[in-house]
Symmetry: C2
Subunit: 345 residues, 2 copies
């Protein structure tokens, strides 16, 4: 049995999608044990409508909720009876609990991880690594860090590269992930001091497949598996890409509805549009894992639906089934030791 904790109250559509996604996971994955944390008076009636193996799904009561308006660190410290605080408490104390999935406040999840779970030995900073679909069917790209660390030094970025590579390999089966450094030009000497130093460090890091700088316009090209960046520019990269795709789809739809002829055309291409929309839908790609945390923590999109919750749980399961945290601990010890020794150059 592999035990995963699910925060039932986080997200825009909680707790209904959280419950449904969790039930799906319990039904699909036979050696999965779930603790669903949240308001019992709301969860019990929802669970009563579902069919599942009750021996593998228990509820832990928590009557409060941490919202996105709460100050993250303060909320984790003071809202002791919130679903997120209780989830972290359980993750910390229950040695059998392997992972936490939440759709709640990103800041609070980060604060809770740092305060209650801690980092893997040797990891300087945990980092978010969301996955996006590229324009090549079935192909994905990870962005690390996408927002946990606004200020970074080269060693943080080196660790993001090591952790992200292991993650793509263990959770998604990507062989020797191609790692690129997000920069404002392809040439080695481009960018600010952070980029120049990081470039040299990545070039000399064993165990990663570093392919050089990548410009933001190539994110979805499928040429790169993992983009390494500080959390500020990673957040800009992730959100502008999401925003542009959403706005463009909206514009196309509006434009097609503006004449009789194009409406007829829209009917004929509807299936293909849905295919593309589905391909781009983050609900199918799980959440952003917080790499470097001592236990697996996954942040799902706030507007996730049932399928996204299920995908997040599946992702946590795959990571833990492949012992990602242990693998990170080993690699980090090796990679960060290497540059200190001149013989490694």
């Amino acid at each position: 049995m592999l035990k995963i904790i699910v925060d039932a109250m986080g997200g825009d559509n909680s707790p209904s999608v959280n419950v449904k996604g969790t039930v799906k996971a319990v039904n699909q994955i036979k050696d999965l044990q779930i603790v669903l944390v949240g308001d019992e008076s709301k969860l019990t009636p929802l669970l009563a409508q579902e069919k599942y193996d009750a021996s593998r799904l228990e509820v832990l009561h928590a009557c409060e909720v941490i919202s996105c308006n709460d100050k993250p660190t303060e909320a984790i410290k003071t809202k002791k009876d919130s679903s997120m605080s209780r989830s972290f408490e359980l993750l910390r104390t229950d040695t059998e609990a392997r992972a936490l999935v939440s759709l709640g406040s990103t800041g609070a999840l980060l604060a809770g991880t740092v305060l209650r779970v801690g980092r893997i030995k040797g990891v300087k900073r945990p980092a978010f690594c969301p996955i996006l679909p590229t324009m090549i069917a079935g192909n994905i790209v990870g962005i690390c860090d996408s927002g946990a660390n606004v200020d970074c030094d080269p060693v943080y970025l080196q660790q993001f590269a090591v952790m992200g590579s292991l993650y793509l390999n263990k959770a998604y089966g990507v062989n020797a992930p191609r790692v690129a450094l997000l920069n404002i030009g392809a040439e080695e000497e481009k960018g600010d001091a952070l980029r120049k130093e990081t470039y040299q460090l990545l070039k000399n890091t064993d165990g990663i497949n570093f392919v050089g700088n990548m410009e933001a316009r190539d994110l979805l090209s499928g040429d790169v598996d993992l983009v390494v960046c500080d959390g500020f520019s990673g957040n800009i990269l992730l959100k502008s890409t999401e925003g542009a795709c959403l706005e463009l789809m909206r514009l196309l739809k509006k434009s097609m509805m503006s004449s009789f002829k194009s409406k007829m055309g829209a009917l004929l291409i509807k299936d293909k549009m849905y295919e593309v929309k589905d391909m781009m839908d983050y609900n199918n790609y799980g959440g952003a894992v917080l790499l470097g945390a001592a236990k697996t923590v996954i942040k799902g999109h706030g507007s996730s639906k049932e399928e996204a919750v299920y995908q997040c749980i599946l992702q946590a399961y795959n990571m833990e089934a492949n012992n990602l945290c242990q693998a990170i601990a080993q690699e980090i010890a090796q990679a960060t030791a290497a540059p200190q020794s001149p013989a490694a150059e």
Copy 2:
């Protein structure tokens, strides 16, 4: 007469599109005088095929070309007979020459501006300000800085806000442009030290219409007229947005060509797709102006076509007809003086 210099050799499709776009500008704008700088042996036969008022278009010979592989500062200093160096030399020495338009190397154009043209008094750093169409027809958004300055301090960003506001007003007629600070969250306290300090500075800057932080996903929403950012994150914002739109259009096209039914549909919506493509096409929006330079310098997209060259020249013409450089000089003197006086708070 308003005299503008056009670098005939920069860009992927030079000199043919440069010549055609220039001729269009001369034919459309009656008080425009152009100096086309480049290899006479190539320009003369191209010009011979066109109809225009020859008294308002002269050629200045320059036999070399600065490529994107040249080191920017070195190229400006050593390739004296390149079209770009000659253009800058003319812009510097000819008091009647008001502006330069080039599709050539961004780095060299920046280096040439700094070395040969200089800054407006009081301006700390010149900054690129490209314009993107938003998803609302006829509406645009500027990004300042999009790549000239990878390292910035709050006063630079304050100046980008002042200069960009004047630019949108003078060159595009935007009334009281809504200025936002690019950040990783909407709340005032979000971001790194640079963002927090800049937020306070912008809030207290007279003469700009500061509307707070903006997340990258809202760039194309039409809610903001000018996004202020350091050149590194501005470059990520610009290029990831361009890249996502291009990749998505490519994917949709491929998807629609994959079945007979959707091919029929594609025929019916073709016009609308072209409308959207046209709306998004940077060829219709001119180039990225280098705000803060002592004279107007415009960088067109390297892959510009004839229409884009024309739009860049028109843009330079509009800026100069409205005396943008003088307006910037005045506002910068006032805005940067204000925060030093405690009475202004």
